[in-house]
Symmetry: C2
Subunit: 352 residues, 2 copies
Amino acid sequence: MKAFEKNIRKVEPYVPGEQPQRKVIKLNTNENPYPPAPGVTKALEEMNTDRFRLYPDPTAAPLVNALADFYHVNPDQVFVGVGSDDVLSMCFLTFFNSEKPIFFPDITYSFYSVWADLYRIPYECQELDENFKLVKEDYYKENGGVIFPNPNAPTGIYEDLSVVEDIIAHNQDVIVIVDEAYIDFAGRSALELIDKYDNLIVVQTFSKARSMAGMRIGYAISNPTLIKYLNDAKYSFNSYTMNQTSIVCGVEAVKDREYFENGVRKIVETREWAKEELKKLGFTYLDSGSNFIFAKHPEYDAKELFEALKAHDIYVRFWGSERIEQYMRITIGTREEMEQLFAFLKEYMKNK
Amino acid sequence: MKAFEKNIRKVEPYVPGEQPQRKVIKLNTNENPYPPAPGVTKALEEMNTDRFRLYPDPTAAPLVNALADFYHVNPDQVFVGVGSDDVLSMCFLTFFNSEKPIFFPDITYSFYSVWADLYRIPYECQELDENFKLVKEDYYKENGGVIFPNPNAPTGIYEDLSVVEDIIAHNQDVIVIVDEAYIDFAGRSALELIDKYDNLIVVQTFSKARSMAGMRIGYAISNPTLIKYLNDAKYSFNSYTMNQTSIVCGVEAVKDREYFENGVRKIVETREWAKEELKKLGFTYLDSGSNFIFAKHPEYDAKELFEALKAHDIYVRFWGSERIEQYMRITIGTREEMEQLFAFLKEYMKNK
């Protein structure tokens, strides 16, 4: 080992879901099966690329304003970043600087522990109960901050807003982040509580309900005080994170409320139908409020099933980690894609 | 102060140059006065926005490959990020983990000390000499890593490659980063030394010579070992940083070598002419190898001049900090923009 290598930070990198570049039935990274709002295409076609020579607006004002309009908050309550991963990572860096451990569920978005390690933030996982539900009392203990997704990933379970509020109310001396990547497919958002609790930050994304995973846009909504801290940290890091196309396309994706609501409705309908189909095939699953279903089968090994699906160009997600060894996470695709999935599963089960 | 505020990271944010949204003569943030390569516009017009629903290629392979082709290196020697700020920040996080201070010049890119503070990296500034040149012997002392820009910012001074190599050669037990944002306007790049020194990382950007500040693309070139460490850290941070448009537009901007070289030549010509004009007006300046000139006038106060220019919608950059109180940094615009600048200066000096 070279001398200079001893001071290099070695990390165990997070392994994202596969992104095969050829055409497959892609139900593995919770993408939206429908394209983004039509305004997005139009905006790009009309884009003045001469302006690319200039730095983008560091405040991404048009996008911040569009989000503020949509969610009926003030622009100084909105922070935008390069996907919700960027926003969440910036939140960890800014808000979790206590000596006490931050709390998050034992089964949750795998990036939380990665960021905590990266920023040397102590953490303690709180076990979900046997039904993979949050145990709110576990979050009453002293801690350095709280973060959980609602709906949770990869379980898909939506916790009622009363549970979310209970956790926020019991943690008013620390920052509580509710990571709502999938909220549009579920129910009431913690955004309702923003004015009531000044320790609350809600993080959402354009990658799921807004069909813009490829454009990397996420945002946090909170009170102006916390958003200012977040912006200060961000500006000390990289002044210009949102490029000109993401600002322009983001605005178009937010503006078209009707297209957005239609898209969400179609996915929720397909999800509810898919649950019935899974049931017919003998699968059990957690009650998803997301654009995916976390399912297992009492007779078929999840890993084998996952491999068999992949061999037939149907990609779902499988972790094989503790407590979820037998679960697969299936993203809700179009009705047609789901039909192909179920046709394959029927064949598979017939022959095994 | 609320209890939760005591664990919030408070930082003194970096203040970037102003980005006025109305039309001004903008010579303050070293942007390119010419638009990006024509292929960029075409690529956006033909963009398949349906694909925005999918995550981008996390490896940004088309862009990495285009850069590898252009610089005659292997793709595993190239790392891309959201502007060179993102790349540099990721380098600080990955490579500067020693207890010993890292070294950089006292007058240099202001973000270095900001990132060092952010990541709790000890640092020690080495004074430039009275002509604002690097003193290479200062970098022979034991340290935790070295970073400097070449050409330096905001002085614009290009150090001969022999000076750069001398510093690298004397620091083979630590990582040396040469930040070459402006190299295309200057001379030989440290890229020539990549195969010779395995502790060397060269960082460049699309924001200057490639006219793409608005698209946020930067890159590092090094050996496969160091690039792998950088990618591992990046994946643990945010898997998908480069959005689909930046990958596609980036490829087009790299491919068009002729357009790139023409653009650089025009700017260098304007710069050399501008130096003569400044001299005629009594300015002195450092010998710039960049797309800007760092200039002062023996009779006119820099701050007053800066304010007067701004009042006439001509934006240049002024810091007023130690050792450079009387300097303004003037970005090289088009010939016409520079003529307007000089016309104003002549008027100003006549009346003062």
